[in-house]
Symmetry: C2
Subunit: 348 residues, 2 copies
């Protein structure tokens, strides 16, 4: 502890408050409260009907000690509403956090509550060692092996990916000139979250969701629930070892960031191979701004890849454009979608 | 999965984006990034001089893989600045997050990184069982026993409390009519964070920091570093089992919320005993708004007490005023200090 200059100590009183730092530093509390609420199914329970606090707590299996603080914290965070002792969902929570609605994005939050939150507890170790901190901490095998080996975990992961992609998928459906194309494949398409949004918006398109064989039933159930079974097919394959489907547009959403540079380039080359002259490759990710100063979420996603994979990282738009041109794409551009997400577009 | 009405599915496109929910749900990533930065001493290393990124990473012991993303995420979060590859502290971080400055509040963040972040990983279990989830998960003994038993952990905890109280302590020094009083005691005063701010601002006051014996050296070092050894004394004692010092004003900062209702009332009665007619008792906490709708931080602090203590909880101003009147205080009021903190004032 240094001896402060008393003048400085006095002027401290007029200095800005430490509020912003404290709020950021303690932000994990609000975050984990939402994650636990998603895990406990609070918003699903309240979907469509309000409930008295004690009855709600009982049905959720909450001990009385913390229940009221928990529910009122969700009120203060704008996720629940309360009238007297009667709780209901905010419109936002009702739309996005009810498991029974197709607009559900809580799968990602459930996965964060079950896995990512605690994996991030080892961030300091990850930064010191450069090694992943998840189930595959031993470093053996694909980072996805642990997830794909367990059907429940796989379903949770696939739903999480749908949650992560819902916003950008809608923007991608709106903003890309789909009228020019007839077919697309979402490579590593998981449950089909992106493919469904595009197919819903553009009835002239036929699409393929390409992913590993265990994904098939989960994807087909999801696609059928939207009545899109005719226009969206599942194709089983490994995007490193199998040929990609021949289509007009190849999409990879939150795929490139999982892999190291050599694998990123392999995937870009495979996308190039799969499409015809004039076809397009859309790489959707939390693309980092070229100056690496603004997109905090993109940079945090890259740290997430440090913790989740042996070599993955998120990237700037300019880097991805370079890799695409190196692969032969004649035209590339970056388009912002929504929030932290952008797509890098390569035209062959 | 329910079958959605296709009309609804179409109107989904115009619905607000899930951005806010995602940002809140993934908020733990930004939060943990700041906590790890505090733990690693990033801002202390950069205090007063900028450094090239690679040299900085090397001195911090960071592996090259994640270092640049980590530092640039701190840039995007407004905590570092970068000019070319040269990093420096933002003014805010330099003032509040340099360990060598008396304005350091990072002790709390270091404690969060080392303890609270992972304890909050068990929030769901805490909500289901109503039981604390920290080192004293077994439920035996005081929640503070584990902290006070280890000198390093104790010092970290005491510094954390100084960080937590810095903002409200300054506001309390400004806003309370201290000219009416000559002496005060900060009961459970820890390192002396609150007492120092009040004594710096009001040279006519003499104060006592009252806390358990192991706190003495940590407090005295801190107080001396401000040149306040003459006016601030440490008095060792247990606030449940020993008499409190007789003074004009008794302060308890972030103390009442640690305990169950019976203990809260015992402490209020002891404060009443310690002061003369006309004396004041100031209870500083993240006082929850009476409607329990606004102060999210207060409600989250109460969940923190669920995880950290066998019976503690945060409270509304109206409840605390009731308890004070029950103890004999003739006048009570709540005054907002800064951010989520208020003080409840009782005049005897």
């Amino acid at each position: 502890m240094s001896i402060p200059d008393p003048t400085t100590a006095k002027t401290d009183f007029s200095h800005p408050s430490p509020d912003r730092i404290m709020q950021l530093g303690l932000g994990f509390m609000a975050s984990k409260t939402l994650l636990s609420a998603a895990e406990l199914g609070v918003f699903t329970k309240l979907a469509g009907h309000s409930m008295e606090g004690e009855a709600l707590s009982r049905e959720l299996g909450l001990h009385p000690r913390g229940a009221r603080d928990f529910l009122d914290a969700l009120v203060a965070m704008g996720l629940l509403q309360r009238n007297g002792q009667i709780y209901s969902n905010s419109p936002e929570a009702d739309f996005f956090l009810d498991r029974a609605k197709p607009s559900y994005i809580g799968g990602l939050l459930e996965m964060c509550s079950a896995r990512l939150y605690s994996i991030w507890g080892s961030l300091t170790e990850g930064l010191r060692t450069g090694k992943q901190q998840n189930e595959a901490k031993s470093g053996i095998g694909s980072p996805f092996a642990a997830i794909y080996a367990n059907p429940d975990r796989l379903r949770g992961f696939l739903q999480a990916m749908t949650g992560l992609s819902m916003g950008p998928a809608r923007a991608m459906a709106e903003e890309f000139p789909w009228q020019k194309y007839k077919t697309f494949a979402d490579v590593g398409g998981a449950q089909g979250g992106v493919a469904v949004q595009i197919a819903l918006r553009h009835p002239h398109l036929n699409g393929i969701v390409f992913d590993l064989p265990p994904v098939k039933p989960v994807c087909e159930e999801y696609v059928r629930s939207f009545g899109l079974g005719e226009r969206l097919q599942f194709a089983a394959g490994d995007f490193f070892n199998d040929l990609l489907p021949k289509v007009d547009v190849v999409i990879m959403g939150h795929i490139l960031h999982d892999w190291d540079l050599a694998d990123k380039k392999r995937l870009i080359a495979k996308a190039y191979e799969a499409i015809p002259e004039g076809g397009a490759f859309l790489a959707l990710d939390c693309v980092i701004d070229d100056e690496r100063r603004k997109n905090a979420t993109g940079l945090l996603m890259s740290l997430n890849m440090l913790l989740e994979s042996p070599g993955g990282f998120d990237y700037c738009g300019c880097d991805c454009c370079d890799w695409m041109r190196e692969a032969g794409f004649r035209e590339t551009r970056v388009e912002h979608l929504v929030g932290p997400d952008s797509m890098v577009i390569g035209i062959k």
